[in-house]
Symmetry: C2
Subunit: 434 residues, 2 copies
């Protein structure tokens, strides 16, 4: 029985989840994987003596994880960037396996960290979609497939907010405040609701499944602040649910990568992923449509993913296969040389949902459709309800045919300037066929 | 670059899918896994010269796969039992990695085959739920968790039949005939619609996730022949969908394993898995509720799973870690010694749906509830529609509270003997809380 001695950086929710799962399930993990885990050192800037560290040495100096020769594997669970990046870099340089849940660092420094021995030593299942083994699914379960598309609900906060808006008709701001109260959203919610967190995760999925290269700037990003309860209701009337999606599409022109709100057919499996759950659907040439769903956050859920990496690396270490020595199977250079083209967002084509608040007077519908036809944009569906007595404006809701993003943006600018348009137009994209 | 030389037994749909995926995606697989695949030998009793064998030797003698020293890995894709079992046994005995999609053989001989070196050399991702990497999910992604329950739509034929009955109101027999015409059901459909196929798959999931032991006889099995369109409609009225499920529950009394029709809440993700798709939901202590869905059958979908095993084994072979030599990490004996108790079906407790066809006369409802109360069975919901003029019988539909199976069976026997009961009672179990 090989014992793997762990050094844990950080003592937040995820690190506590890791400690708790090891305490509870170590015997089970040993039976399954043939390796036994022992936490020998925990380092955190904030001392937290009330947590049972299972006999591990505690220090407030992260450095100790690198200098302690007893540490076989480093778990970077502090989050943030500078210190975490430094720890990962130096761990890898010292030939130690490193497990991290740090999506921001991977999105920004993935190419550097995954070069050379990093490809064998660094694992990050927990960085995308929490408990869902999606990295393993992409790299292992679907390894024989050419991936055509990926559609992910990869930010639980956004999914929770839309769900509450839909269920209770509560306005965005109010739901956000409630989410913050429940701990589903941060005090500064921007990271989640402006799509940055989802973009980090999509960058990782893009690299692993499609391009071989981590490139955050290749991902188009839009958040959820502009969506109202009215939009959710109109979308429903058209047979859709609004989800905040990460989308990757492998098209003839190249690879599209984008994070934005999207209308999803109401009977699609993805449309029925509710609350803070995450889900990723992958369409591939052999396996067809596969979907993985589960909790996208939470201490033990994330710890489950961290430990799946620890056990996989541990099994390799136990088998004595020279982990860490760049081997014949290190193909990172080949991966990178074969990088497909990325499609710029302005060239992406999709159908659009438009909610156009107009003054309540005859002829507005004609003016709107006239403006769109000048851009050769045709309309697939339209909704216009009678104005209620207390409304000065009335919403015209349109579903367009597929339009190239650049054209749609120009048309929107034109529409917004029409005298009959009474307020900001809301534009949402329709998800590609799932 | 390590080249793995494959010997394929069989030339049916799955084997053809494997050949096609290798032809199409070998370069991609090489980039991802660092191993290159070459098919060096194909053996099938039926010669099929019209298929491109990519330069592999062809023979009608399976034996040749074992005697050819060039074959690094054997893919058993012939199905059936005697020949396939013999091939797997002899491959393992010769220390060759073996990949199989043969659920029947694993369900019956898993303990023997997975003992000793089999645990390292034998893989069977394709044996359960086709393209879905559920074995990898159980053994890898969720390895740090204690599993509480598993709920699986693991037979696409049954799921397709219920879907058609629901969508079009078509009777079971008619849908079955159509499924046979479309190739979704076999000429002898018993294997699928009587639950045998699902029981084989559940046996594998039971062994890997819960008990460490393959024991088909521990799985309670019931098929779908007794379900009518009326039942699907009544279930809908009560807020449920009818699915044919494989269920494993880890309870205080032990592990339950059962395959039968079950009422699932209409808004559950599993309820929305449609057509021939499969899905498995796993509830665990750390990761919470995770769900994996995808195509459960089909040549390339199954081949995708076969090749995920081939690539994982190939990567181990390339790393030179002594695969096949029973190592310290071979814990199969430890697994088996720690086997939890299995709960007999008669002790399983669940809520039940009863459709009781009664003669149309006053007082029948009272007689039915009186009979149930004699067994201390209480009723949670009831439906009784007015009889239409052309009906001699009228259905009383009841949803019971949780009842122990043995008691429910005794009560059903009593009910069926009542004079007012006009035809066979249909009993369906309600799924445990997902």
């Amino acid at each position: 029985m090989t014992e793997i001695k762990l050094g844990i950086a950080g003592l937040g929710t995820v690190a506590q989840g890791v400690l708790e799962l090891i305490r509870r399930n170590n015997a089970l993990m040993r039976q399954r994987s043939g390796v036994s885990l022992r936490v020998v050192r925990v380092a955190s800037r904030r001392a937290k003596p009330e947590i049972d560290l299972q006999g591990a040495h505690f220090s407030t100096d992260i450095e100790d994880l690198l200098t302690d020769p007893n540490v076989d594997m480093i778990l970077e669970l502090i989050g943030g960037d500078t210190t975490a990046l430094d720890l990962i870099r130096r761990g890898l340089a010292a030939n130690k396996p490193v497990v991290t849940a740090n999506k921001a660092i991977l999105a920004a420094h993935g190419n550097e960290l995954m070069a050379g021995r990093g490809r064998q030593l660094l694992r990050f299942e927990a960085a995308v979609a929490g408990a869902i083994p999606i990295i393993q699914g992409l790299s292992g379960g679907l390894a024989a497939n050419r991936l055509g598309g990926l559609f992910g609900i990869i930010n639980g906060t956004c999914n929770y907010i839309f769900g509450e808006m839909e269920a209770n008709g509560t306005a965005f701001d109010e739901v956000l405040a409630e989410a913050q109260r429940l701990g589903y959203a941060e005090a500064d919610p921007s990271f989640d609701i402006d799509g940055i967190d989802a973009a980090h995760k999509l960058t990782i999925l893009l690299a692993l499944g499609f391009t071989g290269s981590f490139d955050l700037s290749a991902v188009f990003v839009e958040g959820i602040r502009h969506v109202t309860v009215a939009d959710i209701r109109f979308a429903q009337e058209l047979g859709f649910k609004i989800k905040h999606l990460g989308i990757i599409q492998n098209t003839d022109a190249g690879v599209e990568a984008r994070v934005h709100c999207a209308l999803v057919p109401g009977d699609a499996l993805l449309a029925n992923v509710n609350g803070v759950m995450n889900a990723v659907q992958i369409n591939s040439d052999g396996a067809g449509e596969t979907l993985f769903s589960g909790p996208g956050a939470g201490g033990e859920a994330t710890a489950s993913a961290v430990l799946s990496d620890v056990l996989a690396l541990g099994a390799l270490m136990a088998s004595g296969n020279g982990i860490g020595v760049p081997s014949e199977s290190d193909q990172s250079s080949e991966r990178l040389s074969d990088q497909p083209a990325l499609v710029s967002m302005s060239d992406v084509s999709c159908a659009n949902y438009l909610r156009i608040p107009t003054v309540d007077q005859p002829g507005v519908f004609a003016q709107v459709t006239q403006a769109l036809s000048e851009f050769s944009i045709s309309i697939d569906a339209a909704i216009q309800h009678e104005a209620s007595s207390n409304q000065s404006a009335v919403d015209i809701v349109l579903l367009t045919d597929d339009v190239v993003e650049g054209t749609m943006n120009a048309a929107l600018e034109r529409l917004q300037r029409l005298d009959i348009v009474a307020a900001d137009i809301v534009r949402l994209r329709v998800a590609p066929t799932l």
